[in-house]
Symmetry: C2
Subunit: 193 residues, 2 copies
């Protein structure tokens, strides 16, 4: 499992054995059961996540309804806004599947970054990349209809559609579960015709 993390890191910087050992000694690997809630609304947290295997989901509860905003799967990193802004969390984070991830702490990161400037650079580059990626996702979302968004998702993350419940997918697409059902039926109908 550690290999997955090191593979990921190697895309940004190359680590010496010392540095790798320093990382391992931080004891950041966690194995969590499906349904586990990693973070609750209103909680304060300093934790960042990196998914090695499995899937985690972020969501609000508005008027008793879950609004799913994102899924993070293999090789994806995530730091909740509340950690950056030092505010209570606006949403929940829960495990869609049994998941193996790393959990790191922002205090720990400050320390590692000052000891190894390499990590500082990696964090900057990674943040910039994620910002650009999220910008593109947002733009695509804005400029397309729910049906087009679903078709895009089918292209870009086909696995999600298999591994995630429909009603969570629907709210991730910004629509109601009934609309997703209907929209899927409409597509199937078109494919036939």
């Amino acid at each position: 499992m550690q290999e997955i993390l090191f593979n990921f890191i190697s895309k940004y910087v190359s680590l010496t054995e010392d540095e790798q050992n320093a990382l391992v000694s931080l004891d950041i690997f966690r194995s969590v059961k499906k349904g586990t809630i990693l973070l609750k609304e209103g909680q304060k947290s300093k934790e960042s996540y990196f998914v090695l295997k499995g899937c985690i989901r972020t969501y609000y509860v508005l008027d008793g309804e879950e609004k799913t905003t994102a899924f993070y799967t293999e090789m994806e990193a995530f730091t909740p806004p509340c950690v950056i802004n030092k505010t209570p969390s606006e949403y929940y984070i829960s495990c869609v599947e049994d998941t193996i991830l790393t959990v790191s702490n922002s205090d720990m990161e400050v320390e590692v970054n000052s000891k190894f400037p390499k990590f500082e650079i990696m964090c900057r580059v990674l943040s910039e990349e994620l910002l650009a990626k999220q910008r593109i996702d947002f733009d695509e979302f804005k400029t397309s209809s729910p049906e087009q968004r679903y078709l895009n998702l089918l292209q870009s993350r086909p696995d999600l559609i298999q591994r995630v419940p429909q009603h969570q997918l629907a709210s991730f697409l910004g629509i109601k579960p009934q609309s997703l059902s209907r929209l899927r039926a409409r597509i199937t109908e078109k494919d036939k015709g």
Copy 2:
């Protein structure tokens, strides 16, 4: 004008006089006329922007139609995804108003960051903040109707509604200009009743 930049930077790191002078000597301040196109679709670029005064806009052209994806105004920084990903630009950047901004180059940034590790840290922190902010904006967009989005914008960036043409606002909100007109009329009607 330089003061505005230094005020912004001081929120992240404190600069010595030497460092300030180093920044000024880079000659990054630009004054551009309304309508100027800073970046065209298909172009490669290494430029990042920071708006001191005025407003710039990013947009695609899809099927001959402009799709406005973002506005950047006073004290906002922006690095196009194409700079991060080293790909040709997917969109245009143009000036909504006469604008004063800084234009920096990624080669220049690499150099400055290695000379002053302070800047490296500032870039990381800024990227993380922008990522968190954009995440919140995206989530809000996903979970609200066009009407709610307009009302949110009225709260969060009332200036935009004054300084930006309606049809650009509409596509920024993910709808057609006619729908924005109608929606505004609907709100005015509600306010009366």
